[in-house]
Symmetry: C2
Subunit: 301 residues, 2 copies
């Protein structure tokens, strides 16, 4: 990163962070502090890429998400958010993945439509603070929504297929090179607590925000808040099986499950991969060119 | 933590974070993102309490400070800050230490007096956002300054002694139970890049902010910006020796030293232990009662 770009990148990052916080302040979300060394509850987004930490003789992980911690505070606080590092042990350094990146997460009592409105509002608030750039950042509101089943039709994929980076960019280009939502993914390829759709139990009320250049920048969903259903989904999840192989246990989720057992309202939330937003705004093809100290398997300093 | 206290704590934390950001925005500091998995440059505050991470076969640490990363950006950005977790492997769970806490750090081109003004301004901006509490938070401005040599006189300690929690609280009580600065510590007990005092090379231009209940909440100093002097101080530091015993090397500092070699202006900075500020504001004797998910050696979830 040369000095000229560094100043530009830093100004863009600082502006986007400022805009994000404006949104949460204006909309009365409480910012909370959650831990980044955790047991399974902070580490369950992508079990294959966990960093392990020797925690005074116990096995712990570097957190990938604080989602369950935020959910635990909802009965008291109703609308919460946090920002902090998310750690992914990606062994290959490429133009799309960092080993550590800031993740902005929000959880609130509300449904799928309110969720998509909050994500859109957050994104617009972030972009609004940007300094003058030498290109225009395009966004259309409401952000267009495409259901997963229609996306795979267009792309010629089978039901259950994950969307790769090239698929995401093809959808983006077919839709005017602006941010889009892909909604209602198959239950079997998504996180255990994403809420089943009432009309079709094979899909969940989830939405990924896909950005030009950067691809998937936000994962979001209504959460399963019915205790029995949640336990069933957790027990059946491939994620838990992989955690058990690593020495984890369903008991690691007890504190979280107990909160749900005590009764929680319908709620929704999301995680925003901050550098992907920066990548979109900077119109860069390589995420490593979008932050001052990019960390991947080859860049430890 | 019961539900009632949780709401109170969360509101206080959210308000303090909001006030901190207001200060940096108003004073035109750029917020930057720095990594939390690092080599020695992120890990040198307290070498004895480093968490190690296996980073794709290389040895890495969980960062305790992002100070050197912030300093590296100063030639371009002039005024920077960041917030993120600081990790300390404290084996004993007590009422004063957490294993992970948010650290607010700032660096700017400026001298010792500007440094103390910035710390005071930050603290006042944080406190200003507080919700109504059932007690009054006292602060006097300018925050009283006591030199280390006078502090040890009062306390009956030898030159070079570290100040323990009881010493800090004794000084606080003798000064009206308000925040105080202790300044100009002996060089031999402080970080290698704190700048020597021009009149007395045995002391550094440093200041610790001491708070009622919480004790040391901020460590700060002018930084050594002369290359030859900085290298000499690093080579002589006990910190480097202990890092070398752990497999580190002075080469780990090359990227940082090269920036200083290229020329940097006089600059200063600090790190604010966020939970200690919360502890003061909440008037609590135990830091574990001051955040929703306190992490120490016994509380991993």
């Amino acid at each position: 990163v040369n000095k000229h770009d560094l100043v530009k990148i830093a100004k863009v990052e600082s502006a986007l962070l400022h805009g994000a916080r404006n949104y949460f302040t204006t909309n009365e979300f409480s910012e909370v502090i959650a831990p980044h060394i955790t047991k399974a509850t902070g580490a369950c987004e992508n079990v294959e890429t966990l960093f392990e930490v020797n925690f005074f003789g116990k096995r712990a992980y570097l957190s990938q998400t604080n989602q369950l911690f935020l959910e635990a505070l909802l009965p008291s606080l109703k609308k919460v958010w946090c920002i902090g590092p998310s750690f992914r042990a990606e062994p290959v350094a490429d133009n799309r993945h960092l080993v550590e990146f800031p993740l902005i997460e929000m959880e609130f009592e509300g449904n799928f439509d309110e969720l998509l409105k909050n994500i859109e509002g957050l994104l617009i608030s972030m972009v609004k603070e940007l300094p003058a750039l030498d290109h225009v950042v395009h966004i259309q509101t409401p952000i267009p929504r495409i259901e997963y089943k229609d996306a795979i039709d267009v792309l010629g994929l089978e039901w259950g297929a994950d969307l790769k980076a090239n698929h995401e960019q093809e959808l983006i280009m077919r839709n005017g090179t602006i941010p889009i939502f892909i909604t209602h993914f198959p239950k079997k390829i998504k996180f255990f607590n994403m809420r089943e759709n009432d009309d079709d139990p094979e899909i969940v009320n989830s939405a990924d925000l896909i950005l030009p250049y950067a691809g998937e920048a936000v994962g979001s969903a209504e959460r399963e808040h019915r205790y029995d259903k949640l336990v069933e989904r957790l027990q059946m999840s491939p994620m838990l099986k992989r955690l058990e192989e690593k020495g984890g246990s369903i008991k690691d989720f007890d504190w979280y499950l107990n909160i749900v057992k005590n009764g929680v309202n319908l709620h929704s939330g999301c995680g925003v991969g901050f550098n992907r937003v920066t990548q979109w705004v900077l119109a860069e093809n390589d995420i490593r060119d979008c932050t001052a100290f990019p960390l991947n398997s080859e860049t430890l300093i």
